[in-house]
Symmetry: C2
Subunit: 179 residues, 2 copies
């Protein structure tokens, strides 16, 4: 797995002390700028899926990038899970804890038909707060969560384990130690 992903890893830039001291920020913008790297990451996300779902769901904002590209690659529709207050129609919302305070994710209440299969995509899973909020939204809407894919997992922060414990099948293309 490491050999197969070696080029993706090399395309991700690490920025120390962003957004605050002590955090090693994994910057995917350098991967996106590389045509072969971006195409390869989307291809690897696609190849990890079994049955093609009805919808790919992406979490605002970087998750939109990989979710939209994957939906385009697979020929599916795309479901946007946005920060609170951004969607114009009737929504359902879930709050989740940040280090200080809370944040909110929302989706349109009529975004998916009951029983539709939805695969969740985001660029990175850390503590899993936003991913778990998205999982809850998709299930509250009556859809079947078919799994979740991330480009990067930070396993020391435990998010992937938390989401798995909710019965969600998770994959990540790359794993980085530390924070």
């Amino acid at each position: 797995m490491e050999a197969r992903n070696a080029d993706l890893r090399a395309l991700i830039r690490t920025i120390p002390d962003f957004p605050k001291p002590g955090i090693q920020f994994r910057d995917i913008t350098t991967l996106l700028l590389d045509a072969r790297g971006f195409a390869s990451s989307v291809e690897r996300l696609a190849s990890g899926l079994g049955t093609t779902p009805d919808l790919i769901a992406g979490i605002e904002a970087r998750g939109f990038v990989f979710a939209a590209a994957l939906a385009q690659r697979l020929g599916t529709g795309l479901l946007l899970i946005r920060k609170g207050g951004k969607l114009p129609g009737a929504t359902i919302a879930e709050d989740y804890a940040l280090e200080y305070g809370t944040d909110r994710l929302a989706m349109h209440v009529d975004a998916c038909a009951p029983g539709a299969t939805v695969h969740l995509v985001d660029d990175l899973i850390a503590t899993g707060g936003s991913a778990l909020a998205a999982v809850r939204l998709i299930r509250r809407a009556g859809a079947e969560l078919a799994g979740a894919s991330f480009v990067i997992d930070l396993p020391s922060l435990g998010g992937a384990e938390r989401v798995r414990s909710e019965g969600v099948e998770i994959r990540a293309l790359l794993s980085f130690p530390g924070h």
Copy 2:
């Protein structure tokens, strides 16, 4: 053109009085949820390009959706133009006027090689403030702006004309009268 775009137009939902009274909000989330509509919109964005550019640039956040899907469709890299404070590396930034106050867009200063060709994508052009800020950023970085594509133009707000007057070739898949 209207016949060709009739199905895209029908997939866009209009929400009255969002985000404030008097605004008819053109909601593209219903288009994205429709697999054929989403694929068709990306195909039409692609077919309007002459030479394939080096990079597709998308403006946060809805612009990321169409830009990422178009970059995936064309096999190019993707340049993210984000709200101020979001990018972790060294950036250049441009402020633009809102109805009340200003907003800021930024891009990584090293995001594109001088002379690289960049095609700008966003979901909608209204007054053109954010599109003009993105145009200035791409040109300040030394890249060649190869054009700009939007899914929706609101011509009564004059943004497309403003961007054209900066020498940028613009296309939009759909045009809606009024605001």
